[in-house]
Amino acid sequence: MANMSLHKVPMPTRPPEVRSGDFLEVTTGYTAEQAVEEAGRCLQCKNKPCTGGCPVQVDIPAFIAEVAKGDFAAAYAVISRTSSLPAVCGRVCPQETQCESRCVRGVKGEPVAIGRLERFVADWYNEQVQNTAAHPIHNGHRAAVIGSGPAGLACAGDLLRMGYDVTMFEALHLAGGVLVYGIPEFRLPKAIVQQEICRLQALGLHLETNAVIGRVMSIDELMEQQGFETVFIGTGAGLPRFMGIPGENLGGVYSANEFLTRVNLMKAYLPESATPIHCGKRVVVVGGGNVAMDAARCALRLGAEQVSVVYRRSAEELPARAEEVEHAIEEGVVFRFLSNPVEIVANGHRCVAGVRCVEMELGEADASGRRRPVVKANSDFLIDADTVIMAIGTSPNPLIKTTTEGLDTRSFGGIVTDETGATSRPGVFAGGDAVTGAATVILAMGAGKTAAAAMDKYMRQK
């Protein structure tokens, strides 16, 4: 008989007043007992609606059945058949719009806590099991992966397991892409990312950091001179957008990318880090996605007394994961909905003094299906601030496009691919945010895996 509780087993979470003062992980994860109890809520539907909601098609009822039996190793084996980064996805996937949104238990009550169970299984495995993966037998074919974020890691993982000789190029000094420069430690501990990368290195991955493809080598050189038969472009969407309003270049205005990179990659929150950060007492974050939540919560942890998130739509339209919004509110982040900045006001030293906003109201639905915000007349107001963080989105970096002849891109900069990830250049594949524009970790992983399969086919046929 299934556990018929209408509610998920609550996630053990550190109290807001404690966690908002440090960068340790907010949620501490299920215990084995809690995991088994939650797994008991799964009805083991034969048609597996949840799996249909997963971009990498994890066999969710099968792994949960193993958790319910207490066979966590078997559960991990099920997940890892299709997912390369379960410890990451269990933490950062927007489950409420994917697997959990299709869960039958969610019709009446809360859905099964699929994300929490995935995280539990991955963490259990990482703690219990030494890496025993056998080095696959090389098939003698070489592939290059550009970018070491979720798309690149997933693509490289699959290619390595198929026996390919894979070299991964990363522009920064540390691999992991957005998982290390973007998502903060308190949401995704960097040790987990490092463990996943070490696992790929144990499979034979060659990792080259400090290598900006497009500058130090072009894709043509990789293929013609370096002997790579296929190339996967997983360079993400790293180019920050600004609003184009007056005052955006004042001192104290950051892109979320810069603010988060200083905090996460460069560890500006640690006293031993040499990288400075300027975080004032009153911080305004512009935007409503996960990146905005991350920036706002980092600012709190750096000692800001008042952190406001300014979002031009209402609470219902917030694109951030529900859990991140809840955690942000618990920690004291204030939301200014239906507000849009029109100017960043300077003090006498060309630094930020405040943000002038206008109130918005929701009009007709736009192309995205969301109601378009419209400015209310004479509704100006000022929020005092000494730091402003722009988290309004990112675009794909043009470096690869401008240095690779014959690589077709869309007007926003995304690389054109077919459904297998193949680009307009034979042997060159792409996936993740570099193709779609800013999206999620799991969609990027899915694209990386799809491309790996197509690259395998391409190299076999050659």
Binding site: H173, A211, R215, V216, G238, G251, P276
Partner: protein
């Protein structure tokens, strides 16, 4: 990786290093830069490529010890390695079709101006170099400049070496004396580049400046290096580092460069204590 092959103290605060970096050396061009880290917890700092040797797979960097990271870098010796180095980043200097150019260097900026002057000289252009320093103790690269200049004017603020005065005085003097230039290239402290640009605007001479703002990744990802150029926001790392001096908002760049002044000062003092060195 990134072994220091040779180290030379050019003057009390300025160091030249030749570093093994074959991939970067194979691609580097005048005007481009690298980003390096000295240690695992170190910050990423951009430095312009002062020279490169494709055959030996090395690049040259020249830097002034102005903060904690450059101080730590200056303490490394030949045989030791840098933690990281990435590049070449940014766009190369455009020197095509230039026949007669004034190259202006200020302080350690002369180290960046030198490869540009050399490249112009090698392509047969007539090169007038004006280099300025605070005082004689800070003068560098005089022989190198002499070898590539058709005319070389050195100045110091206090007259302790060369002429007494500012590079703008010397440039105005040359222009007033009837010299005409296809272009002026000015590389040095922000105020120097600002005043050179104001001067050349009067005479309608195209002027290129090399911006060196605060930067993290160097690939267009953080936007920390953004500047206003001709009313548009541009990123120094990917759109530059060289820009039209008549279009750059120098006052904004100056304020942005001061954002971390206090934190940098503290870090520098800590580093000085660590290395048992006098705080300047």
């Amino acid at each position: 990786m990134f072994e220091i092959i040779q180290k030379e103290i050019l003057c009390s605060q300025v160091v030249r290093m030749i570093v093994k970096a074959p991939r970067i050396a194979a691609k580097a061009q005048a005007g481009q830069f690298v980003i390096l880290r000295v240690s695992e917890d170190g910050e990423r700092i951009p430095l312009t490529v002062a020279d490169y040797d494709r055959a030996n797979g090395t690049i040259t960097i020249i830097f002034q010890t102005v903060g904690a990271t450059t101080l730590a870098l200056s303490r490394l010796e030949a045989g030791e390695c840098l933690q990281d180095m990435v590049g070449p980043l940014g766009r190369a200097t455009e020197t095509e079709n230039l026949k007669k150019i004034a190259v202006i260097g200020g302080g350690v900026g002369t180290a960046i101006a030198y490869p540009v002057a050399k490249k112009l000289h090698e392509q047969g252009a007539q090169v007038h170099c004006i280099v300025g320093f605070r005082n004689r103790d800070l003068v560098i690269l005089q022989d190198e400049f002499a070898a590539v200049s058709d005319r070389l004017i050195a100045l110091t603020d206090d007259g302790s070496f060369g002429e007494k005065g500012l590079v703008t005085d010397a440039l105005r003097h040359l222009i007033e004396a009837g010299e005409t230039y296809d272009e002026v290239i000015a590389i040095g402290p922000l105020p120097m580049m600002k005043y050179v640009s104001l001067l050349t605007k009067e005479y309608h001479i195209k002027t290129v400046v090399s911006m060196n703002p605060v930067m993290i990744d160097g690939t267009g990802m953080c936007g920390g290096c953004r500047l206003t150029v001709g009313g548009q926001t541009r990123f120094a790392c990917v759109d530059g580092p060289e820009f039209d001096g008549h279009q750059v908002d120098f006052d904004e760049a100056l304020e942005r460069s001061r954002l971390y002044r206090e934190q940098e000062r503290h870090a520098y003092e800590r580093a000085c204590n660590l290395f048992g060195q006098e705080v300047r």
